[in-house]
Subunit: 174 residues, 2 copies
């Protein structure tokens, strides 16, 4: 079982965007620089987060990305599903039906017990991810990480965030 | 996130082997037939289960595979790790260290909080898989599946199991 590398990038970017002031944005290029990633690689994952309405993309010269809702209402499950898709990890191929004895479809109405057991485990996984809020990830980082990395992150955000002239939508107040 | 298709094949084969009599075996070719799989494809996964000591492989003309221990002591976690490997699904690439500000390694001694949160979820997944015993999968199948599929499975096992002449090791009594 393997999650794509995009998950790590997506969570780090969302956590960084949780730190921008008010309704400011940050460009994809800045986030790519922050994590040593190629901007085109990262763009794909920022688009996935935008499609899933975790981020919003602001056009224009001062544009970029910002969280679409407060970090308290974004979970690791939201991010993982946005990047990896909503399908379960175990995809039942119904091989129980492929054998030499051909029974009609009515014999397979009940789901395979193996699939059911695998899906139970997946629900436990998703429940744990749903408990992990982005706001907690950020709070734990500020509290527990080495002070030098916290300071470096704050300086980076301060330098790269783009203040928005107009705040008609008051995004951060929602 | 995606598990390989081999997991489904491996669990079905182990469940089928839980049904053979005493220390009888079943050939890989028979199991491949049971699930409409290519024998060479299945062989890879039977080898993984054998390496992990979930199955044992008996050589010779009446040889084949059988469970290496009672189905009560085999879990879905054992099988999933045997096929997919023991690495966690989330593999931290330490992208937090790749940014423009170079801090020395001592700033990253504490694990990244994102990695820690992802590993917590993985522990929940593995705990759920560890609770699912192969013996329960088989018991639920016998109790809940359509009686026609249960009957067809029993006939298949009866026809394809290979009784062993010598039972010096009394494998099923362990």
């Amino acid at each position: 079982m393997k999650l794509g590398e995009g998950v790590e990038a997506a969570i780090h970017c969302a956590a960084m965007l949780a730190g921008v002031d008010g309704n400011s944005t940050m460009s994809g290029a800045a986030m790519a620089e922050a994590f040593g990633l190629s901007p085109s690689y990262l763009l794909k994952h920022l688009n996935q987060l935008t499609t899933a309405r975790i981020l919003e993309s602001v056009p224009g010269p001062a544009g970029g990305y910002r969280l679409a809702r407060p970090a308290e209402r974004i979970t690791l499950l939201n991010i993982v599903l946005a990047v990896e898709g909503r399908e379960p990890a175990f995809r039942c191929g119904e091989i129980r039906q492929r054998g030499p004895v051909k029974l009609d479809a009515s014999a397979y109405v009940k789901p395979c017990g193996i699939n059911a057991a695998m899906l139970r485990a997946e629900r436990a996984y998703r429940a744990a991810l749903a408990e992990a809020k982005l706001s907690d990830i950020v709070a734990d980082f500020m509290k527990d990480a080495d002070p030098r990395t916290v300071a470096a992150s704050c300086v980076f955000v301060e330098r790269h965030q783009r203040l928005q002239k107009f705040n008609s939508q008051a995004k951060r107040e929602r």
